[in-house]
Symmetry: C2
């Protein structure tokens, strides 16, 4: 075998020990929250049949699916004429599986295939990588984790409440304090297009006002104009765009503004009820920001929509979700509605790094390294190692007889906070020298004292 200089496929990443410890810190916080709220984890295979995936993400999405070459003789169904016809004739003959593109379509497939065994309302969460053949760029990868929670099989607004509560809990646990959970309702956007005299054009309206943050109201007006929205419509929309008030005042204002739209009022009522539930539950409205111009593209949302923005960081939008009517219709099961939410783990990672919020020490890190000078120190160290681990303290014995400096370097590089030094005196007196590498302090202790010190 010839020697190769190995490399990674474009747009993919390794996660080393430090990154993994930090990712686990985020993911464990999220998982613990999901469990506390009664969500159950599922996993689906990386590969799905192309018939399951194709046509669910638009033409662009179909292009971005990673397809898997049939195993064995993948050319067995291929005719020379297929080659001339190009990739679209060739593809179905050489590939029948693809890598999952998101967690929603596999979840819909799962619900349909297991509908008789599932306990509805079904609260599920799923944390797995997805793959997209996107052009790689800063912050965009071809493999990345999604982290989704959905409740299907109920229209109860308690689900919307719980999404707000879960976000608040996760962010509070992670130490992220300066953020907003923007909430709106798709029906309000429908109502808006009705009352400005552009009924049925909420799709275009959403696409345009979705850009408000990026390009400003002036440019959005131009775009609406180009899309054929009338001067009068745009003028009517104006007070909504510039609306600044607390949630209750916004609700009051919109009750008047949307009074002629039944759908709009329904959306408003839903928002109001969610805010009311928050109060009944005993939680403040801190961070919860009713935002009439939050549009979140359009896609399949039919009720509440959510987006979380962290303030004063370079990439603020870290999570989003909403309520949908028909998750599983495409697989032949009608009437499964629900509401879902996705934590953007990579984004949250970046935010935490930018804000310096990761703890110095992680729970799953080694706490004590045992160092020694010779075979008798090694033997003594083995027995102490046993004691430490029995006390549940993550600990290591340096595996080789090596210069003490080398052993300390190991502790240092691995960010191990405590080092035990076992010399002749310690062995004779049956105690240990404990050095705290953070404070630099060193003291001689009995084994019991040392264990309670580092616990």
């Amino acid at each position: 075998m010839s020697v190769q200089k190995p490399s990674l496929p474009k747009g993919t990443r390794d996660f080393g020990p430090v990154q993994m410890a930090r990712r686990n810190y985020i993911l464990n916080t999220i998982k613990e929250t999901f469990s506390l709220f009664g969500f159950q984890q599922i996993e689906t295979p990386a590969m799905e049949n192309l018939s399951t995936l194709t046509g669910k993400y638009g033409d662009e999405g179909d292009q971005l699916l990673f397809k898997i070459l049939n195993s064995g003789d993948f050319l067995k169904n291929v005719e020379p004429s297929d080659l001339e016809k190009g990739t679209s004739a060739m593809l179905p003959k050489v590939s029948e599986k693809g890598l999952r593109y998101d967690l929603t379509v596999p979840f819909a497939r799962y619900v349909v295939m297991n509908r008789n065994d599932i306990t509805f309302p079904f609260k599920r969460y799923q944390i797995q990588p997805v793959w997209r053949a996107d052009r790689p760029q800063r912050g965009r990868y071809r493999e990345f984790y999604q982290c989704d929670a959905d409740v299907v099989g109920t229209d109860s607004l308690v689900c919307e409440l719980e999404i707000l509560l879960m976000i608040k809990r996760v962010f509070s646990k992670l130490g992220i304090t300066d953020y907003s959970i923007k909430i709106n309702n798709r029906k309000i956007l429908t109502g808006l297009s009705e009352v400005i005299g552009e009924k049925g054009r909420e799709g275009e309206l959403c696409v345009a006002i979705d850009k408000l943050d990026k390009i400003g109201w002036e440019k959005v007006q131009e775009e609406l104009n180009q899309r054929g929205f009338g001067e009068r419509s745009i003028e009517l929309l104006s007070p909504i765009i510039t609306l600044k008030a607390d949630n209750h005042k916004k609700l009051d204002f919109l009750k008047g503004f949307l009074s002629s739209s039944e759908t709009g009022l329904k959306g408003l009522q839903e928002i109001q009820e969610v805010i009311q539930l928050l109060e009944t539950f005993g939680e403040t409205q801190d961070h919860v920001d009713f935002d009439v111009v939050l549009a979140r593209g359009l896609t399949y949302y039919t009720g509440a929509i959510f987006e979380v923005k962290v303030h004063n960081v370079s990439i603020g939008s870290v999570s989003g979700g909403g309520r949908y009517d028909n998750l599983t219709g495409v697989f032949g099961l009608e009437g499964v509605s629900g509401v879902g939410f996705s934590f953007g783990v990579d984004r949250i990672y970046d935010v935490m790094e930018e804000l310096g919020l990761f703890p110095e020490q992680h729970a799953d890190q080694t706490k004590v390294l045992i160092t020694y000078f010779d075979k008798s120190g090694f033997d003594y160290g083995l027995r102490i190692l046993n004691r430490l681990r029995q006390a549940g303290i993550a600990s290591e014995l340096y595996p080789d007889e090596a210069k003490i400096k080398k052993q300390f370097t190991y502790a240092d590089k691995k960010q191990i906070p405590y080092v035990l030094i076992l010399g002749d005196n310690e062995i004779k007196e049956k105690n240990v020298s404990l050095k705290n590498l953070i404070s630099g302090e060193q003291e001689v202790l009995s084994v019991e004292e040392m264990i309670s010190r580092v616990c």
Copy 2:
């Protein structure tokens, strides 16, 4: 879009909530043990360049790699003549990436690419799915998790000791009590082939005696005979095959038997030292079984080899590993030796199921369901939900006003052990009725009492 009846690709599985809870129970036990021993987690991408994967698993392995079709115009480099030449000419033109086949090759690639940042000795663990285009059959899947721990960059036998300790800890935590950790040393097998007069044929010897468990000594003799091992060699081997004694007696016997083989004696000394380390550490030899005929195929092992067998179950072999000399040579980095071990998570799952060892309740399961009759019960329930979650108790409020029977069915199906019933009396008296669904017991309690009861 037409309606489709969805299905899963052959050889792949969904994991539903119950399976996930059980898998997490196993994996968390393993992870916690790895951390306690100072192993650090890494993750590598699902996709690797085919140049990284190909040629590492033999011809059969290359066939079983899942290859990914190049994205975009995958035919752009294909000539009509390639089609005639068949799959081997076509493959490099339409695919440059594949799905990882195991965790060892990606780990070797990782070590080479990050050799300047890694702290050696490097104790890493990795738990990720791998993919193989094997013919699916009972217990064999095309996607399955591997769970590997390796230490590279040291020859210290402390690593072998720690593998034994980790296995013992994991199995003890999981409640598996009737099992053996078979340990042998590749050098002993080399020694055996030397002393029976078949020097250099330890490969064939291993392949044959590896089948001892399955086909018995008689058939193994036939195979050795067919392979051209002499009568006298087979006769000399005989006492080794039938050797039954405790570890120390086996060691004593082999010291004589292998006295003419330097390599054999070296292997013996290593085994002896590992057993000695176990004693120094203060751990018994229970479950540790020096097995001279353990061969574990051959592949790249050069020192200790391990295999764990659970007794009295249908598929007993659940884990294995060993020491190797040259992990990264194929990627141009020589001299990285180490020792590794892999827990067979699917197998351990099956064993635990067969032995009924999974706990009834899992830590991440909902503990309390709040049920109610009307809006005032719902509102009261929301406030109690807040209290429960603040106490860290995984709990849910049934999301819809529904018949109490339906709410209980939900608790039952989700195996929620406690149900709160909030009727008019409870609301008035500011207490709760708590029903234990396992014992059937029901009592009226204050909210504080209830919380301490279910904690």
